[in-house]
């Protein structure tokens, strides 16, 4: 049975005249990791803070574990949050940092510290309890922040761009750690990022936001393979957007004819670069060929404009100026408008 952990009902957040969140409806199921993804300023952080209670909605309601918390301050909610800067208290030890929440909520100090020790051990920080945060490495600090957020068994744990302060090389490792901790503890998690690769890698579901609204919600593969709009197609991965017309179920663009679903009229198709195959000779011409190590990327001039094609490295390589033809399977094209 699936249980709703968090629910947004027509949530709006305004700052003066500016609208940061312009009406969001969303429910998040218990135990899943949902990512808020979108360009800068689209309202991801604000949505996260609305869950935490660090902002209260201007209109609409937020439910956590079935309770309307729209008017509850952060201190009255049971959420854990991992901040971009970690926000560890610099003046107390790692142990006191982690035991802080339980102590505030009335657990006797000894018991709170025992629990903190236990969690610290589970995140692999046993033996560092007595240190000050400044005496830890960046990765260790991040684990303390996570331990601190989960020690109270929160209804939801929130991450605001948790990897932005992590070394580029470590990012993959840390995000896997976060994912496995979340699975192990069965936590409901909301994760904010503007890195689409990170979102695809960690999420059960992704919420793509645009200008304070939800553009699409879905699993990583749904979003990648069936983007609902040109914006999403373009934002997640690379996409060739082809504009044309649908007449009686048939999409036509210069040099192209495709059966598609949906109503007649103007339409846009999205085709991923790696779904296009190339063969030598034909109406189109390679403009640039870029060697990327794991693959080749070609920019090809066609009647419909320039198209991006990505091919595995083991295929015979083409060079700029060569005549080619493009092959696209109708199943690989999704209608986005």
């Amino acid at each position: 049975m699936t249980q709703t952990a968090i629910e947004f009902r027509s949530v709006v957040k305004r700052y003066g005249t500016a609208t940061a969140v312009a009406g969001i409806d969303l429910s998040i199921v218990k135990g899943e990791l949902v990512t808020f993804l979108g360009p800068s300023g689209c309202g991801k952080t604000t949505s996260l803070r609305l869950i935490a209670g660090l902002e209260l909605p201007s209109a609409g309601q937020v439910f956590i574990a079935g309770r309307d918390v729209s008017r509850d301050p952060a201190s009255a909610r049971n959420v854990g949050m991992v901040f971009q800067s970690y926000a560890l208290f610099p003046h107390v030890s790692v142990l006191e940092n982690v035991a802080y929440g339980p102590v505030i909520r009335g657990t006797p100090k000894a018991e709170a510290q025992a629990r903190a020790r236990e969690i610290l051990e589970q995140v692999g920080l046993a033996g560092l309890e007595a240190r000050l945060p400044a005496e830890l490495s960046g990765g260790q600090q991040q684990r303390v922040a996570v331990a601190r957020a989960i020690v109270q068994q929160p209804d939801v744990i929130l991450f605001d761009e948790p990897l932005s302060n992590v070394d580029a090389k470590l990012r993959r490792k840390v995000r896997e750690e976060i994912r496995s901790l979340q699975r192990r503890f069965g936590l409901t998690a909301v994760y904010v990022t503007h890195d689409q690769e990170e979102a695809l890698a960690v999420s059960d579901r992704i919420v793509v936001m645009e200008k304070g609204r939800i553009a699409q919600v879905g699993t990583p593969s749904e979003l990648y393979e069936h983007p609902a709009s040109p914006f999403i197609a373009d934002f997640i991965g690379d996409a060739n957007l082809i504009q044309g017309r649908v007449v009686q179920g048939q999409f036509t663009a210069p040099g192209m004819a495709f059966p598609v679903s949906g109503p007649d009229g103007p339409a846009t198709l999205s085709i991923r670069p790696e779904r296009i195959t190339l063969s030598p000779g034909g109406p189109d011409r390679v403009l640039t060929a870029t060697y990327l190590g794991s693959r080749m990327e070609y920019s090809v001039a066609t009647e419909r404009g320039e198209m991006l094609v990505s091919r595995p490295i083991f295929e015979p390589r083409l060079t700029a100026g060569q005549e080619v033809s493009l092959h696209i399977t109708p199943a690989d094209a999704s209608r986005v408008a």
């Binding site: 935490a52 209670g53 660090l54 902002e55 209260l56 008017r71 509850d72 301050p73 952060a74 201190s75 009255a76 909610r77 959420v79 854990g80 949050m81 901040f83 971009q84 800067s85 926000a87 560890l88 208290f89 610099p90 003046h91 802080y100 929440g101 505030i104 909520r105 009335g106 400044a134 601190r148 957020a149 109270q152 929130l158």
Partner: protein
Amino acid sequence: MKALWEGRIGLIWSGLLLAAVLALPWYKGGATLASALAEGVAGRVWLLPLVGAALALALLALLSRDWRIHPAGAALVGAGLGWLLLQGFGIGLRGPALPGLGLLFPTALEGQPGFGWGAWLAGIALIGALAEVLAARGFCRGERFAAFAIIGIVSALSLFVFFPIVKLMSAAFVGPDGTLALTPFLTRITASDLWSLGCLTGSGRCGVVINSLVLGILSAALATALGLALALLVARTDFRMKRLLRAISILPIITPPFVVGVAILVLFGRTGLVTVEVAEWFGVRPTRWIYGLPGILLAQVLAFAPVTFLVLLAALEAINPTLEEASTTLGAKPVTTFRTVTWPLLRPALAAAFLLAFIESLADFGNPIVLGGSYDVLSTKIFFAVVGAQYDLGQAATLSVLLLTLTIAAFWVQTRWLGRGSYVTVTGKSDAGLVAPVPGLIKWAAVAAVVPFVLFTVGIYAIVLMGGFVKDIARMDMAPTFGHLWTAFSFEFNERGIQLFGSAWNSMITTLWVSALSAPLTMAVGILTAWLIARQDFTGKRAFEFGTLLSFAIPGTVVGVSYIAAFNVPPIDITGTMAILVICFVFRNLPVGMRAGIAALAQIDRSMEEASQTMGAGGGRVLRDVVLPLIRPAIFTALVYSFVTAMTAVSAVIFLVSARHNMATAYIMGRVENGEYALAIAYSTVLMLVMVACVAAMNGLVGKRKLGRRSTVTGTPHPAE
């Protein structure tokens, strides 16, 4: 568990409200000590609605856990608060001030005394309940602590800063019979003893306003020039006395008023050491030349130069040396570099320093009263209008309006120039690049200005240090004695324990009490205000911030008069109590703690506080666990500053002291007026020692933060005296 707690907070406020109306004496100094209920039943029926509201609110809070969002809760709280104020201000000591109330309540004609414990507590409880009601509606993101703090501080500021000023303004326009009278105001404000230019045209004396302006401009110009010389020497030369100069710059802050004036008199008065010496050498007749503009100017420049020095030093150190370096490598001579690069970059700071000194000079009371002679300035004129034989509040109010207009105009120009906040943060200087040495000519000019300043300061403080412990410094009778000290602080041990006989004990003890009470309060309110401004978003925040800063620009004399105008009649009659002294200091020094707090908070990542919140901490807990430990230096600054000011301030308290609660500075002023210079100096020395000891103790108590961040010193100008 949480829900239970929610209900209980409401019960606490309504419980307090019930206690306030049912159990505590409602009126101040009432012979009967009767509660609002008893007074209401006995005839003051206008108190009964308050009792009713308290009962209804308690009932609602008991029955409904959601009383905070219940419309009836909001209505009761709003109506209760409104009625409390309306009846308090509407029915005075001798009957209704608002005519309608007399018709409504015939018994009101007998009037009512001021607020007592009950009424105060009722006000606080209603404010608490109001915060709950608003927080439940999303004010301050639902944080009750922040909501309570904002509403509490706004109420307190309205009551103790704005209300007195408004009252004072109205006193300027209202005649003795209580009706609006514009003619007397116009007569007073155009009087020739305010605006006469006689001294310039050579036909008599100048008006008070002209005197104040001339003094302010001269004093600010000289202090700025001297401050610039000091700052250039410290920041741009290899001058070896930097530490000494920094130490000297702290002296004026801990120097009680009058001592510098007295020391100047001892040196340059008609029988002064220097005067007599010079007279003998050159065979001229000793004169009273020091009384008037020269004396005040001398004292003020000595006192304000350190302030301008700090402002200009910060500006000089903030100038990126690479700019000057670039100019030099382009082949400019030092003079050219100074003229084309350094000077233009310094100009805004020079303007700021000038305005700061100008405001201080206008507000200064201690020096003009000792050294002024017949040179009247606004602040002394205000004092004599109220304290002299002719008690004329209307005249004092009119002069205050003038003085206030001048200082606020200067303050406004200053904040416009400096952007927000005119505090300077003095940090360790950046050591990238080499600073351009000042050209030789300018350096020697600076030395020529600074050397007399240092000699003077040393001379003055030598007099201050010795003066209290020799027989008669003014007549060069240098026989050491503890006689003056004994006059002030004699005591005796006997079978009844220790007995204090000295004439100064009373004022000393009051001063210590007032300082000890007001310093932590000032710090707490200041830091809390800083936190609200830096961390909370609420409607009216801009106005709130401006209001707190504005109280900085109100001269002490004006505050003193305004307190007299506002607080010697019900509902708030607190003149003659120690409370009024404490309150006066808390709200006058609030901006210092606030600025230190804002500067410190700006360096602290806000998400630490948010982390604490998400872990379940309410606003008070966040402050205690996270904010306060991280801003200890600011707390220390605020504490020390408010303590020291409470010990040395004179301009506002001189109006508020009473026979029972006399303050050290008021006592010293009395001695100076009587010509008992040695006693005044001895007492001042003791005060300074006490201050140093207390500051050291506070340092031990609060300590410095040791988290490895670079410590920053905040140069804090003091409020206009």
